[in-house]
């Protein structure tokens, strides 16, 4: 039953998004704008600052992700459909997981555009180790989205949710973002060190486990009242 609810919510969000493309367009537009602004500011005479690409990539992902989180739950707020989801006779964490997977899919799609763009504008060999890069992005995105989905759901009825979401989200996800930046930086270094990379990835995975466990544990009581 848990899996069925997750699948229904994911498919519903995907259907709505394919029809409107609202979140995909705004997230991509925001992410691309962010990368372009940093590229114009930091790339001088065709030379990018060393290690800058990793930071810019994760800033773009974090900003675009915040926008996507807000819009996804705004959609559930407009006709109070979140209440209807909470009325489903299923474990409420299934709703959380369904929404979380939708956000992860959306951010992954945005990363498919942002990574080549950053690699091009910052002349960064991001795609030199594609498997490692995919692992870093996936684990980092899960950690960021795990916290973001919980907070976005909690704040859905708050009047100042657009302000509160980044205020609450960034301080808590800073460890994931920093670890993501450092791990991506290892990929870009001239002397690639797999051992160091493993440490950073392990750190991100640890954050993912802690955040996901806390979110699954707290979602039901937080959403009941």
């Amino acid at each position: 039953m848990f899996g069925q609810i997750v699948w229904l919510i994911l498919r519903k969000d995907f259907t709505i998004e394919v029809r409107s493309l609202e979140i995909a367009y705004t997230t991509l537009f925001f992410g691309i704008s962010c990368v372009l602004v940093f590229a114009f500011a930091l790339v001088q005479e065709g030379r990018a600052p060393e290690g800058g690409a990793a930071g810019i990539l994760w800033i773009a992902i974090a900003f675009a992700g915040t926008l996507a989180l807000g819009r996804t739950f705004e959609r559930e707020r407009q006709a109070e459909t979140l209440r209807a989801l909470l009325l489903a006779p299923a474990a409420r964490p299934a709703i959380y997981v369904g929404k979380l997977l939708g956000i992860i899919v959306l951010l992954t799609a945005a990363e498919f555009v942002l990574v080549p763009l950053v690699a091009l504008l910052f002349q960064a060999p991001l795609l030199a180790h594609p498997v490692w890069l995919a692992l870093i992005l996936l684990t980092g995105t899960i950690g960021f989205a795990a916290v973001g989905t919980l907070f976005a759901a909690m704040l859905v009825r708050a009047r100042s949710r657009d302000v509160l979401l980044p205020v609450l989200l960034y301080p808590i996800t800073v460890p994931v973002i920093i670890a993501g930046v450092r791990a991506t930086g290892v990929l870009l270094a001239p002397d690639f060190d797999a051992g160091v990379l493993q440490v950073w990835v392990a750190l991100i995975v640890s954050f993912d486990v802690v955040f996901l466990t806390l979110a699954l544990w707290t979602f039901e009581p937080l959403m009941t009242d």
């Binding site: 039953m1 519903k12 959609r75 109070e80 209440r83 909470l86 009325l87 009242d225």
Partner: protein
Amino acid sequence: MIPSTSLRARADFDHLAVDDVSRHFGRRRAVARITFRADRGAILGLLGPNGAGKSTMLALLATLLRPTSGTIRYGAHVAGAHGAALRASIGVLGHDLFLYPELTARENLEFFAGLHGVVDRTAAATAALDAAGLADRGHDPVSSFSRGMRQRVALERALIHQPRLVLLDEPFTGLDDASAAALGRRLRDLRTSGAIVVLATHDLDLAEGLLDRAVFLRDGRMVHAVDRPDALRALYRDVMIRPAAGFSRTKGI
């Protein structure tokens, strides 16, 4: 009443008992010391002006909120211990319609049927569209519907899993006379089928003749309760101008 199509464990019950229930939001008291009972095959009306606590009371009955004090019993069950099983037996039509405007009417109905574990979602959605009188508009997005048509779809969404307890918050809002009459007939059918219907409204003309019991709320407090109410508007006027301290009951609630 309990459908053979549902996969989920459902809590069945023949009455709903609200016992001395209060709910506070911080220092604000939304409802205070409410007590009433609703039985199968009856429509209970929660009547009162805006801000009286009707919607909060429905949210409490729907298990979306927990009482600050007091208990709500669904037959032998209480919400905390049997949350999911109870929700399988509860259908809610909110003031907002709980529909996704980007999805078609059929997609909305199939989605909510799936959430409630109805096995044959297609058949359930077809039956719901027929009941809403929208069989030929099933593939149109809900955003293209009038308020009345949305309301009809939303009602069928709330009923798609054939709930024992049906909670309706201002269901007559935005309906023309024909749609309101059709909704009245649908509610009477629910009563006949053995559902417990709790209806929050301030539209006394439309509630007239429909209610088996009426509970009057003002400022979060229950000020009057009556069985088989008639001349609702006069009764309402009389109850609402009464000093706040008074609680009265007639005909045995």
